[in-house]
């Protein structure tokens, strides 16, 4: 089926860089400002720590009349995503946010949003899933949703959270994609950490996101359609194959939007961020805020003559397999830092490790010794000495050729 609407952007369109205004914002508030500038048609949300700040600040913009968004304060996250799906099916531009158990309560609806190809943007402020009850950061929430058919971006900083939110909307709404996007940032560490965040002018963001014109609208009584219909043994498989292909082919769309935003903002928007990787012998792959700590340690190691590097994927779904393989294939030892456990996977590996090693195997790059470090569960701090210990163990593997334990833990007592 061909799209009957024009793209929201034109590839290769030249835009001059626009100066940002710098504000002291925490990561959650940075997203609230991105949402304010986007001015979505509908936001349906339910509060949960540490996401609450996102929609709390945004609801203030609604109350102040700064935006004309229809804000729906629902009774649960399941209802929040349900309302988002309904609004998106009606043709609205829709955003929401959640964390941890809130995301878990959305589970059923996550698959419905992606299966119906509704371009909803969801900010996830990453927080550990209960039980035991914990409000602090790890990635067990969004990693559990990694097969739900949503694209996933992970932000290292409040700045990236702001930038990713704006790009996420354009990626999701691309007429060749039409898939929902999860934009993640670390709870408290990023979400509540105040930093210097560059904010583009409102009009620049408005121009960048353009106007969303849905292919179909349930409110279009002249052209009635059925969405989310019965799809039995004779259709479902084809629809799922098509959905998978949309995800498989989404990378060029993410690249195009990132390139355009990079030009506009003057801030690099790599699919994977590589630091000191050109000649790196020992390297770490890590998502989100811990990448900053790792980079700082690598600077010190480089000063001591250690050929260390860092790879930080900004995009996790679709998984940038080839880029990661290319970045690490010449390393002598690599560690993946996982802020979640895929329970029951071999030795209790983390989800990032599973995908990295799968990518290496499928690329035929099986000679690189890769180990997995589970870290930071439930908000456990990842300090520079902990990162140093990771590189120490990598250097040992590099020197001895002995891979040793594949799954290790850092920052864990005992």
């Amino acid at each position: 089926m061909t799209s009957n609407r024009s793209r929201t952007f034109v590839l290769g369109e030249k835009k001059e860089m626009v100066e940002s205004t710098y504000l002291a914002l925490d990561g959650a508030n940075a997203v609230s400002h991105a949402m304010r500038q986007i001015n979505p048609d509908v936001v349906a949300a339910y509060p949960i720590t540490p996401q609450t700040a996102v929609v709390q600040n945004f609801s203030q913009f609604v109350a102040d009349g700064t935006v004309d968004t229809e804000f729906v304060p629902v009774e649960s996250e399941h209802a929040a995503m349900s309302a988002c799906i309904g609004a998106s099916a009606a043709g609205a531009r829709v955003m929401t946010a959640t964390s941890a158990n809130g995301l878990a309560l959305m589970w059923e609806m996550l698959y419905i949003a992606s299966g119906m190809r509704l371009p909803i943007v969801l900010t996830v402020v990453n927080r550990a899933l209960s039980s035991p009850l914990n409000i602090h950061c790890d990635h067990s929430d969004s990693m559990g949703a990694r097969d739900a058919g949503w694209l996933q971006l992970y932000a290292e900083t409040g700045q990236e959270a702001y930038d990713n939110t704006i790009q996420a909307l354009r990626i999701a709404e691309d007429s060749d994609l039409l898939l929902p996007v999860m934009s993640c940032q670390d709870g408290f560490i990023t979400g509540h950490g105040v930093e210097r965040v560059g904010i583009l002018p409102d009009q620049t963001v408005q121009d960048f996101v353009g106007q969303y014109v849905a292919n179909y609208s349930l409110l279009d009584v002249e052209n009635p359609v059925t969405m989310g219909a019965w799809d039995f043994t004779d259709y479902y498989f084809e629809h799922k194959r098509q959905q998978s292909q949309a995800m498989n082919e989404s990378m060029p769309i993410v690249e195009a939007v990132s390139a355009e935003y990079e030009k506009l903002s003057g801030r690099p928007q790599p699919i994977i961020d590589t630091f000191a990787m050109d000649d790196a012998e020992v390297a770490v792959i890590v998502l989100s805020s811990a990448a900053g700590t790792t980079r700082s340690v690598v600077r010190d190691l480089r000063n001591k003559g250690v050929k260390a590097g860092v790879v930080k994927p900004r995009l996790f779904r679709p998984f940038p397999a080839q880029r990661i393989v290319d970045a690490i294939k010449n390393c002598k030892a690599v560690a993946v830092l996982d802020r979640a456990i895929s329970f029951g996977s071999p030795d209790g590996m983390g989800p990032l490790f599973l995908d990295v090693t799968s990518a290496l195997y499928n690329a035929g790059a099986c000679d690189v010794p890769v180990i997995d470090f589970i870290f930071g569960l439930g908000g456990r701090d990842m300090t520079p000495p902990m990162v140093e210990s990771v590189y120490d163990q990598l250097m040992q593997i590099r020197d001895t050729g002995d891979r040793g334990d594949i799954v290790r833990y850092v920052g864990l007592r005992g």
């Binding site: 119906m116 359609v225 084809e238």
Partner: protein, 124 residues
């Protein structure tokens, strides 16, 4: 009936690249065009001569698979009848002669197992 039958179902033989993204059904009447008669394991049969035309089966049929013409039940729309048997349960008429199709006493509408040979065209 003729108007309803013009409705289009999403084509069954479409390859995956050509199916509607997200399963959107962008034409009306797909439930008419979508054949559910193949799901049936039991087939309702009516003894027309003994039927009193009370229309209770027509009211109760959850799939609108009992067409009427000139105020009388015409038979069954076997292209859509799923064989749920509600018409048999609801039929209030106890026949006086053996059923013309089954040879059994009982109600005007009776269920028989599908042999697999029957076509799914409308009755009559």
């Amino acid at each position: 009936m003729s108007e309803r039958k013009e409705a289009q179902a999403p084509e069954l033989d479409l390859p995956w690249k050509e199916v509607s993204p997200g399963g959107v059904v962008d034409k009306p009447g797909s439930s008419v065009a979508y054949i559910t008669g193949t799901w049936r394991s039991m087939r309702p049969l009516r003894d027309h001569d003994q039927c009193t035309q009370c229309l209770i089966c027509w009211i109760m049929c959850p799939d609108a698979a009992i067409p009427i013409e000139d105020g009388k039940v015409k038979g069954f729309d076997y292209a859509h009848c799923k064989g749920c048997g509600i018409c048999v349960e609801q039929c209030p008429v106890n026949i006086k002669e053996p059923h013309c199709e089954t040879g059994e006493m009982g109600k005007v509408i009776q269920m028989v197992p599908e042999s697999g040979d029957e076509d799914n065209a409308d009755d009559e």
